[in-house]
Amino acid sequence: MIAVIDSNVLVAGLLSKRADSPVSRILAGMAAAEFRFAVSIELIAEYHRVLRYPKVARLHGFDDDQINDLLSGLILNAQLREPVSVEVAIDDSADVFLFELLAGLKAGVLVTGDKQLLNQAPNWSSVVGPGAFLGLLEFSSRP
């Protein structure tokens, strides 16, 4: 299994006070390379944009160097993949790049907090919320 972590999970994990919340555990897992996850150039760029989003930046208080350090620490553990062109019937075409990344992965799972994406996921894809993803990780690590 290899995960695609939506940027909303990244932000929520960074700003959530509870270390044991699913989003916090996922972000910590990315930083510690505890599971496999994939990124595309477009997703890395989005990670950068969400961390610089004014309301988010005000809360974490990082300068550009710290944002770059954080992203470097995460991306270092990721697998950089090429998106694959796919046709996806979802309401918002701006979300398609996530499925294009997912389509190029064997046993890929998109992890998102976006209920619209969870409800509209194409049949060929696997899209789960943060809590369900942790359940999958625990299941896959069982002997």
């Binding site: 940027s7 999970v9 932000v11 959530s16 510690a32 989003y53 988010v56 990082f62 954080l70």
Partner: protein, 67 residues
């Protein structure tokens, strides 16, 4: 030339020096990332629902969503 000299001084190949540097960089960035995450969580102090609400807002803004 600096890399070649460093390799000669330490009795290692240039490849080994590069590998060591990358490993050092990786360890350093992992430690830094974990420390930054802890700092941000302490500063922000949001509950999980608030944090996800803001995460969704930031994602939508990044994708220039209007809905």
């Amino acid at each position: 030339m600096a890399l070649k000299q460093a390799a000669a001084e330490r009795g290692k190949t240039m490849g080994e020096i590069i590998e060591e540097s990358l490993e050092h960089y990786g360890v350093k960035t992992r430690v830094e990332a974990a420390a930054l995450i802890a700092l941000a969580r302490e500063r922000a102090g949001l509950d999980e629902d608030q944090a996800m609400h803001l995460g969704l807002e930031a994602s939508r803004a990044a994708r220039q969503k209007t809905n």
